[in-house]
């Protein structure tokens, strides 16, 4: 056979072989794809029927909820840490303290003289401290709410500071007790009449008291108290923080009843 013919026959054979091989591969691929689909369907059916998918979804949701809870607890812890870092330490020289200064539990109250709820909470805390047998001391700080009680609340806070300046710690508490007793709250106090009247009743020098009030020298202190209230998380009044001997803090918002305050004080007393 001539070489030209032989090469033609070989070329034709090669083309035929390649075509047949391709056809076989395509057939094989189709069969493989069908097999893969069948396996997939069987696996999905098995997963569905065995409840494995449901369990996996449940586990995923459970992990998500757990993560959220952990984040919330962490947030709470960070807030508590921030609060303890921001609460100005109680100082006998600066703060107004009622009760035993060495008491293991401290109730720091941020209060507004024009707030009706502070008025009712004042007697609640007084009762708790009086009945505590020296176990609770009460620290009064100012938190005038300018949004609700403009001008008056700040001026009254400054007046209480003037009472403290002229008559000491006792005069401060006498002023606060009498003020809450006499005034109607909600910015309805006739400040020019009531404040001098109380100053006179508790035995302060009228001229010195008026001069102190006019000087505005306690305005900065009142503002510092207000800023500290906000920094510790106060959003309204009365805002209180009950601190145990170990330093654990119980933030209490609003004029809560005597039973609630007493319960929290009991918890704080149990904290060593």
């Amino acid at each position: 056979m001539p070489i030209a013919e032989l090469s033609k026959v070989m070329m034709a054979g090669l083309i035929l072989f390649a075509t047949a091989a391709n056809a076989q591969i395509a057939q094989q691929n189709t069969a493989d794809a069908a097999l893969v689909d069948r396996v997939k369907e069987a696996v999905i059916k098995e997963l569905r029927e065995s409840g494995a998918i449901d369990r996996a979804v449940d586990a995923g949701i459970g992990r998500y909820v757990e993560r959220q809870r952990a984040e919330a607890a962490e947030r709470e812890r960070r807030e508590a840490d921030a609060r303890s870092a921001t609460l100005r330490p109680v100082s006998g020289g600066r703060d107004h303290i009622r009760g035993n200064p060495a008491a293991p539990v401290t109730l720091v109250e941020y209060s507004d003289f024009e707030c009706p709820f502070c008025k009712s909470f004042h007697s609640t805390v007084k009762k708790v401290v009086d009945e505590s047998n020296g176990q609770v001391k009460w620290v009064y700080r100012h938190f005038p709410l300018d949004e609700l009680h403009p001008v008056k609340a700040r001026k009254e806070a400054a007046a209480a500071e003037c009472a403290a300046e002229l008559g000491g710690n006792d005069a401060f508490w006498k002023f606060a007790d009498r003020f809450f007793e006499l005034t109607p709250s909600n910015n309805r106090t006739d400040i020019d009449t009531v404040v001098p009247q109380i100053a006179r009743e508790i035995g302060l020098d009228k001229a010195q008291f008026a001069a102190c009030l006019a000087s505005g020298r306690h305005d900065r202190r009142v503002e510092e108290d207000r800023q500290n209230a906000v920094a510790t998380g106060g959003r309204g009044t009365p805002w209180s923080i009950i601190v145990s001997k170990s330093g654990k803090m119980y933030p209490l918002s609003g004029a809560q009843p005597y039973a609630a305050v007493k319960q929290i004080v009991e918890l704080a007393l149990q904290e060593k």
């Binding site: 607890a73 709470e76 709820f117 709410l145 959003r235 309204g236 009044t237 609003g254 004029a255």
Partner: protein
Amino acid sequence: MTRHLKNLRAAFAQVFTYPSYIALASVLAILAFLLAVWFPNLGLIGGVFVSNAPLAAKLNVALSLLGGIGTNFSLFSAGYTIAIAVLFGITTAMIVYLLKQRQVAAAKQTIAIGSGGVASGVLGIGCAACGSLILAVLPSLGAAGALAALPLNGEEFGLLSVALLFISLLLISKNIAEPIACPPARTSNAQQP
């Protein structure tokens, strides 16, 4: 107005013949009330409950704080707080009834208005005279002074909430009492039972 009251009566008769809806409304109203009273002290309650204090002490703290409805709310704010809780329970139970009747479109409108009522209620909750959530929200919006301009010092939000929840209750009653569906045709050929 008479038509609204008639719808309200008819819807109540339709929904609350089922004890399960009475139970749902009651549970939701109680939960809303608890949330409202505990709202200012949720952080304290959470802190006490994760502490190692005895369970009885933890429960005592939570229960004693409920007394705040008498000491930390004015008579007015306590009244609308209770009204919000009751309206929230009833409206939600009726929305659930409507959804079960597959009247999703009708329920959506009520849910929208009811949600506005609940959101407004949250702002009005608590010691409105001496600050609540509203005192935290308004300054961040640059509107701290707006509170002093409100004659009721923010208690308006509580009233708005009661109004919105009541409107959504009327709407849902209408949807239940007068469902949006074609009435069956009454023809002379209609088969009598």
